[in-house]
């Protein structure tokens, strides 16, 4: 026993002096940790960008195809979702297709099924496609047909909506009709930014007096995220309704990748063509619609 103690006792003295990690070691350890954390965060953010512009499109495209096919099937079976009221207990179910949107300026293959949204469309509806603000008018109706859509990712239906020029066609196909809207402003082909067209309107003031006025509505405007007046029957003019015009308003985020503002496109109904089973079955455009595509390409 005592021998053990004697042998063990000098052992600590025999080891080389070790005082644990030095101050320098500790600083290096912390700095390396911070560096690695920052690099990792950077890579995660980069991966998030990939997710936003790429992965979300894959999911959204799948949803959009489902909605589009379901709508087409309903049309072929002779059922029109727009025969239901827009609001109320028996309303069009939110998230289901109601119409198909075409914009010749954005290419031959550009088409999106528009889904019925809530009063303000939510993310699950917008992921399926451009969504109708439920309380605004339906396609072709006098007033304002409001549609919201994603700009970057989530199918990005409104990615290139800033490319639209004054007079460009925005076509909304329903079971019964092809509604042809044109971006407001003048002359055709000009930049629609704050470029207005007078809309004949009737306005009612607080005292109930009705006045007629030609109210100017721009083809394109950039507004604050909280500015809901762009969806009014006569955009930006509370208390007014158009005397005869059916308008359409599209909202998306601006600038791209952010939500600090909204880009708004206003268009006006200029024509309509009856839709029928032939066009729905073949997927071809009626001649009048074909002309609109040729006008942009020519």
């Amino acid at each position: 026993m005592s021998g053990d103690i004697l042998v063990a006792a000098p052992a600590p003295a025999a080891e080389p002096p070790r005082s644990g990690p030095t101050v320098g070691d500790r600083i290096r350890f912390v700095l390396r940790g911070i560096g690695q954390t920052l690099i990792t965060l950077g890579l995660v953010v980069l991966l998030f960008a990939v997710y936003e512009v790429w992965i979300t499109n894959i999911f959204a495209h799948r949803e959009q195809v489902k909605v589009y096919n379901a709508l087409h099937k309903e049309w072929l079976n002779g059922y029109d979702p727009l025969s239901l009221p827009s609001t109320g207990p028996h309303a069009i179910p939110p998230g289901t297709g109601i119409a198909v949107l075409y914009m010749p300026r954005l290419g031959d293959d550009y088409h999106f099924a528009i889904v019925q949204g809530s009063a303000v469309p939510d993310q699950s509806q917008l992921e399926k496609g451009p969504a109708h603000y439920a309380d605004t008018q339906l396609p072709g109706q006098v007033g304002n047909f409001g549609v919201a859509g994603h700009r970057v990712g989530k199918g990005e239906p409104f990615l290139n909506i800033d490319k639209l020029r004054v007079g460009d066609a925005v076509i909304v196909e329903t079971k019964t009709m092809w509604w042809i809207y044109e971006v407001l402003g003048s002359p055709p082909g000009a930049d629609p930014q704050d470029n207005t067209t007078p809309i004949p309107s009737k306005c009612t003031d607080a005292n109930g007096n009705v006045t007629s006025a030609n109210l100017k509505v721009p083809g394109r405007e950039i507004v604050d995220p909280g500015d809901g007046s762009v969806l009014l029957p006569v955009p930006n003019n509370p208390g007014c309704v158009p005397t005869k015009d059916a308008l359409m308003t599209m909202t998306t985020c601006h600038p791209k990748f952010t939500a600090s503002q909204r880009m708004i496109i206003h268009a006006r109904l200029v024509g309509q063509v009856k839709n029928n089973k032939h066009w729905i079955e073949t997927g071809k455009f009626p001649p009048v619609i074909m002309q609109l595509y040729k006008a942009v390409q020519g």
Partner: protein, 53 residues
């Protein structure tokens, strides 16, 4: 952290590299398909609507 993981991976260099690739793939997939879809609705980046008036 990365050094610690590298030290604790078993096997020779090529096997270690293979495991690293697998780990990166697993973490990426977890982020892309679970974490990002979950946090994204809470971020103020993809709002395209205006409130109704």
């Amino acid at each position: 952290m990365y050094v610690w993981i590298w030290r604790h991976l078993p096997g020779p260099l090529t096997v270690k590299l293979l495991q690293v690739l697998l780990l990166i793939a697993a973490v990426s997939l977890l982020l892309l398909f679970v974490v990002f879809p979950w946090i994204e609705p809470h971020l103020p980046i993809s709002q395209v609507t205006v409130p109704e008036k």
